[in-house]
Each structure stands twice: as structure tokens, then as C-alpha cells.
């Protein structure tokens, strides 16, 4: 098998997606309703889903390097866009342990490897104590609202006050 062959994933119940690796590590992949994050943008808010994945066993402390995990995550993301061509995917790179930049690099590499050229990705970083919270937003390049989404994101990251130094 190629290192880029995705693992088979399985659905459990209404909204649970899992896959298991050759190293007996089980992952849970999840999507949540992201409409409330962008309630101020009713045109796109209903299209937004937040995406994430976690090792599904708190006893696993060392996860072996496994390129097929990236291939599987990427495959699931591409499946999302196959089935939701106008979807907007919001993804947060886990930074609770200060390794968010490495995770983002890995995520970027996964997409590069499979040639995900049909997707527009915008990355943004929020300084938060010692770390930065890194987020990525993904939409199809052919999304009819791509221009609005891109411009909207550019506006959202700007300060709401022009002269914050004058505030009490």
C-alpha cells in the first residue's frame, strides 16, 4: 500500500466518524455546526462547518509517525467539498501544547502532496499568551461567494476601533 493511501473511515450513529491506523491508534474526526461563529454573515453562516480530529483514546500518549493519517484527513476534507461544494470549512490547529505551528506545517504539506489545487485556503493567527491560535479557512476556488468570503475575512481580522490607545 502507498503511504498516501487513506485508511477506511467508518461512521457510527448520526455524526461520528472514526478511522483506525496500522499502529492501533483510533482517531475521531468531527464536524460541528459553525453557523454561530459567523452569525453576522447570514449569506454564508449556514454553510460554515468547523472541522477537527482527535486521538480517540486518552491512554495513547505517543502517536507514531504515520503518513496515512494525513492522507486520510485530507481525503475526508476533500470528501466534504465533493458533497458540499459551497461549504466553508473552518479549522483550528491545536495549540494547547505550543505545537500549533508544526501542526499547521503538517496540514499544509498534506494538502500539497495530494495536489488540492481546487481549494482556497486562508490562514490567520491570533496571539494568545505564549502561543498563537492558528486557524485555516477552506473553500473551493470555484465558490460563487469566494470574493465576498475573502474580503469578509480581511475585514474581520482588523481592529474594530481605529485608535485603541485612546480608550480608557
Amino acid at each position: 500500500l502507498s503511504l498516501l493511501t487513506p485508511y477506511n473511515y467508518r461512521r457510527v450513529g448520526q455524526d461520528e466518524v472514526y478511522f483506525s491506523t496500522d499502529f492501533q491508534v483510533e482517531y475521531r474526526v468531527y464536524f460541528t455546526n459553525g453557523s454561530t461563529y459567523f452569525a453576522a454573515f447570514p449569506e454564508i453562516s449556514h454553510l460554515v462547518k468547523a472541522f477537527g480530529f482527535e486521538v480517540n483514546d486518552s491512554h495513547v500518549h505517543e502517536v507514531p509517525h504515520d503518513p496515512r493519517v494525513g492522507a486520510t484527513i485530507t481525503f475526508i476534507v476533500l470528501q466534504f467539498f465533493e458533497q458540499n461544494p459551497e461549504g466553508v470549512l473552518f479549522f483550528i490547529h491545536d495549540g494547547a501544547d505550543g505545537k500549533e505551528k508544526g501542526r499547521k506545517r503538517k496540514f499544509d504539506a498534506w494538502f500539497k502532496k495530494i495536489g488540492a489545487t481546487k481549494l482556497y485556503k486562508k490562514d490567520a493567527a491570533l496571539p494568545f499568551g505564549r502561543i498563537s491560535i492558528l486557524v485555516s479557512i477552506l473553500v473551493r476556488n470555484s465558490h460563487p461567494l469566494l470574493g465576498k468570503i475573502s474580503d469578509g475575512l480581511d475585514q474581520l481580522v482588523i481592529s474594530v476601533t481605529t485608535k485603541p490607545e485612546e480608550l480608557d
Binding site: R11, Q14, D15, E16, V17, R28, Y30, F31, T32, N33, G34, T36, Y37, F38, A40, K49, A50, G52, E54, N56, S58, I76, Q79, F80, Q83, N84, G87, F90, I92, D94, G95, A96, K104, K122, D123, A124, A125, L126, P127, F128, S132, I133, L134, V135, L153, D154, L156, V157, I158, S159, V160, T161, P164
Partner: protein, 50 residues
């Protein structure tokens, strides 16, 4: 491409902080530390778009 910097006083900062808090709750749920009801009471709703 280098990530765009989010101003701490921007609407996106609020969105990202809420999403980060939600992610911590989801991790707690997956670890079995909180129930799905507790998660849903915080407005977090799993969906399956696949």
C-alpha cells in the same frame, strides 16, 4: 503563505477564541470527561456532512 495576523480587538479574535474554547470542550468530551448534553448546552452541535 504566512498567516494573516488577527488583531486582538477584531471580530475574528472573538470568533477564534470561542472556537478554541469549543475545541477544548470537544476534547474533554472525546476523553469522556463531559457528556454530550453538556457539550450541546454550550451550543456545540456535531453534524455529519459526509
Amino acid at each position: 503563505m504566512k498567516p494573516v495576523k488577527i488583531h486582538p480587538n477584531s471580530p475574528m479574535a472573538k470568533i477564534v477564541l470561542k472556537m478554541w474554547e469549543d475545541k477544548q470542550l470537544i476534547k474533554a468530551y472525546i476523553r469522556g470527561e463531559i457528556t454530550k448534553q453538556e457539550l450541546e448546552s454550550k451550543g456545540i452541535e456535531f453534524v455529519n456532512p459526509l
